[in-house]
């Protein structure tokens, strides 16, 4: 028996082809692929038939037609005579506007609250915990409604507007802020700002190189702050203060002047920022707790001050833990901005739905949504991956 085995062993034991994993894999894949293709073919056939019955022609030609609806907020000139294409672009810009402002606010609030939860101060830690536990466990849609129907729409009318500090006003038609009116010559200020940023960048690089060579520390942060804020102010004064603030004021039954922020935008922005901030706070807390205690102890024993320990040892390592989940929170916020439809803020999804109702081009509109949101996701993750790679552990 044994000798038989060893003689036979020269060629691999034959398995019936039914049990061969390779063959099985190929057969299985072919079956799935054929089934999927058949399914898609069936769907396409049904869809074509349904569209023919409903007299809808497919294709993106409808985008050049006149939209015929008005939008409450548009960042580029738009009227009901504009095309659907332009309406979609307005929607995309509105989505981006609320996403970007929301991300900035959520990041600031989230970092503050996350660090606050770790604070040795009992009261602050408790307040931050309560904040996180409340907002993490509520549907964002409910928070949006709360701001929109519960708070903003029950504010008094324009005649009894509530005055805010710095010349702002708020009533049930929106938040009115002073607007900057620029005069010719104002271009110097943004130019000075850009110059300040560029100079800061070079100063910090130079300072780092000098520190490597001589060991002398360059106060990059303070110099940068001075350049970025000082240069524009200087330019503003030198060019003869070519800008004034236009304050909103009562005129008849409405408010004239100033910049108005519509309640739709305000409720969406507040709700998304506060909701996402509670998640970011938890991410930040986990990130800071994830840095081993020995790291800061080692930094102290090297003689680094607590502030430099935080900046040079703890934060860089915490950021490594924080960035990947932070990216997905940013993406979530961008996607959640589609809840705009609930309060009538004209974002991409809301305009898409109106278009869908008017033209019946459901497939095309959904395709546009998928392309735009996937595109935004890819751009955001590409940027964050680049940043993550910069911050990641460089193993030697």
């Amino acid at each position: 028996m044994a000798s038989q085995m060893s003689v036979r062993g020269e060629e691999p034991a034959r398995v019936s082809w039914v049990n061969d994993p390779k063959t099985r894999g190929i057969v299985f894949q072919v079956v799935v692929a054929v089934a999927l293709i058949g399914f898609i073919y069936w769907i396409i056939g049904n869809t074509a038939e349904n569209l023919r019955r409903a007299n809808i022609s497919s294709g993106f030609a409808f985008l050049n037609g006149r939209s015929g609806f008005d939008l409450s907020q548009a960042l580029i000139p738009y009227s009901s005579n504009s095309t659907f294409m332009r309406a979609m672009i307005v929607g995309l810009l509105n989505t981006l506007l609320v996403a970007v402002t929301g991300i900035i606010t959520a990041t600031i609030v989230g970092f503050l609250v996350g660090i606050g939860r770790l604070s040795g101060n009992w009261l602050i830690a408790r307040i931050c915990t309560v904040y996180v536990e409340i907002f993490r466990n509520l549907p964002p849609l409910l928070v949006i409604f709360f701001w929109y129907v519960g708070v903003l729409s029950v504010l008094p009318g324009p005649r009894q507007s509530v005055d805010l500090p710095l010349g702002g006003m708020i009533n049930n038609r929106g938040l009115y802020l002073p607007r900057l009116l620029t005069e010719p010559g104002f271009w110097l200020v943004p130019a000075a700002l850009a110059l300040g940023v560029v100079l800061t960048f070079f100063f910090i690089r130079w300072g780092r190189r000098r520190q490597m060579a001589t060991g002398q520390v360059f106060p990059g942060f303070r110099v940068g702050l001075g350049l970025i804020f000082g240069l524009p102010i200087l330019a503003f004064i030198v060019s003869g203060m070519p800008a004034t603030l236009e304050y909103p004021e009562m005129a008849g039954f409405n408010i004239r002047g100033g910049q108005v922020v519509l309640p739709e935008f305000l409720s969406l922005y507040l709700a998304l920022s506060l909701y996402t901030a509670s998640f970011i706070a938890e991410i930040v807390r986990a990130g800071v707790l994830g840095v081993a205690k020995g790291q800061s102890e080692a930094a102290y024993s090297l003689g680094l001050s607590p502030r430099r320990t935080l900046r040079l040892v703890v934060v860089p390592q915490a950021m490594r833990i924080i960035i990947p989940p932070l990216t997905s929170q940013y993406l979530n916020l961008t996607k959640n901005s589609s809840l705009a439809i609930a309060v009538g803020y004209a974002d991409l999804v809301a305009i898409g739905q109106t278009t869908m109702n008017q033209t019946g081009q459901a497939i095309e509109v959904v395709a546009i949504w998928i392309v735009v949101y996937l595109g935004l996701s890819l751009i955001t993750s590409a940027f964050m991956n680049w940043y993550n790679a910069k911050m990641a552990l460089v193993e030697r």
Binding site: N46, L51, N121, M356, Y373
Partner: protein, 385 residues
């Protein structure tokens, strides 16, 4: 050698002294936790100001000045608004919630049939609670009844049409009932589908892998609203002409697809955390693919990602509030719909209704997250340090 002249040697121990006043009791706690540094003290004062401003106002609004019972809007509006409250009054309108409570729970489910919903709820709790308490035995049987038998019974009870029960159209369902049914179905569908998708994504078969990756990434890349639109507008387009789809079913399909994609990514994280040796060990024991996955890899992987799975459940539960887009009236939508009831319109009504809905959502999500923390501790068998 130097000689020491020890002129004094203490012979008895000194009694331990009390700690200094400032280092014990309340003062120490205050100093350590609230006023450690000047900045800390400032922060504490700011925090105290916030609490001192917010807490009394909230308590007064929600409890002391609140209108608890009443026949209509008059108890919730001031005299200038046509009500009975003095001008300048501001308080919660719990009378509104009180009057609409059964609607918030059942929607427009016929009043005489509501015992069916109650019965389903009782069965749900009776089956769920023993499943959640680790000490109670017969888990497998319990799970089979909960996920296998209960849905069938619940379907016949809630939908009716058989066994002498009247048929109740799903368009009449609403409130917490819809929220719970949608979450239950989507959760129990998304877990198996998510596991399959995750296995597919980790598969060595390129076609399977590609299909799973495209599905997961597309669904995860778009907002839930667009998935729900897809389900509600495009599902009827995809089906042969004349097929009608229940709205409820559309919402369930949309939510399940969405949740499956997220669940797949959570499970994939668990699969990736399992060392290669486990896969190889399973193969060397002669286990096939499904055996090694089902017996060796998945039990470990799922245990690792329980927090992630529960987080997906929580997210799903919150996301059910979006189904109003496809015309369903879940808890949030029905609360919102009732704001337009002229009989109850007052400035305080929306706030009160939303806070009530928020409390319910919050209680469910908070309970789920606490339970996941508890389970995580219990299941932590010490493999991870």
């Amino acid at each position: 050698m130097q000689e020491h002249d020890l002129s004094y040697v203490r012979m008895e121990m000194v009694n331990a002294q009390n700690a200094p006043e400032r280092e014990k009791g309340v003062t120490r706690w205050l100093r350590k936790n609230l006023f450690a540094t000047p900045i800390d003290g400032l922060l504490t004062l700011i925090g105290l100001l916030i609490v001192a401003y917010a807490l009394p106002n909230i308590v007064r609004w929600a409890f002391i000045d609140a209108a608890w019972v009443g026949p209509d809007r008059s108890v919730c509006s001031t005299q200038s608004q046509g009500g009975v409250q003095p001008d300048g009054w501001s308080g919660a309108c719990w009378a509104f919630v009180n009057a609409k409570f059964s609607q918030f729970m059942y929607g427009r489910y016929p009043v005489f049939e509501r015992w069916r919903v109650d019965l389903t709820a009782v069965m749900f709790i009776a089956l769920l609670v023993p499943l959640l308490i680790p000490r109670i035995p017969y888990k497998a049987l319990n799970a089979i009844v909960f996920f296998g038998v209960f849905p069938v019974v619940a379907y016949f009870l809630l939908v009716g049409g058989n066994f002498g029960l009247n048929r109740v159209q799903t368009s009449l369902w609403g409130g917490l009932l819809v929220t719970m049914v949608l979450s239950f179905v989507a959760i129990s569908v998304s877990l198996p589908f998510g596991i399959l998708l995750a296995l597919g994504r980790r598969s060595r078969l390129p076609v399977i892998k590609m299909i799973c990756v495209v599905f997961i990434e597309t669904i995860r890349g778009v907002p839930l609203i667009s998935v729900l639109f897809m389900a509600s507008v495009m599902l009827p387009l995809f089906m042969p002409a004349g097929t009608t789809f229940d709205r409820f079913l559309r919402a369930v399909v949309g939510l399940s697809i969405f949740a499956s994609a997220y669940m797949a990514e959570v499970v994939r994280g668990g699969l990736q955390a399992i060392p290669k040796g486990q896969y190889e060990g399973a193969s060397s024991l002669g286990l096939g693919y499904w055996q090694s996955m089902g017996l060796i890899v998945l039990p470990q992987a799922l245990k690792l990602v329980i927090p992630g799975i529960v987080n997906t459940f929580i997210g799903l539960f919150k996301d059910t509030s979006l189904v109003y887009i496809v015309g369903m009236f879940d808890l949030l939508a029905i609360v919102r719909q009732n704001f337009s009831d002229a009989n109850w319109a007052s400035p305080q009504t929306p706030k009160s209704g939303l806070i009530f809905a928020g409390l319910i959502f919050w209680a469910f999500c908070f309970a789920m997250s606490r339970y996941s923390i508890y389970m995580e501790r219990r299941l932590d068998t010490g493999h991870r340090k």
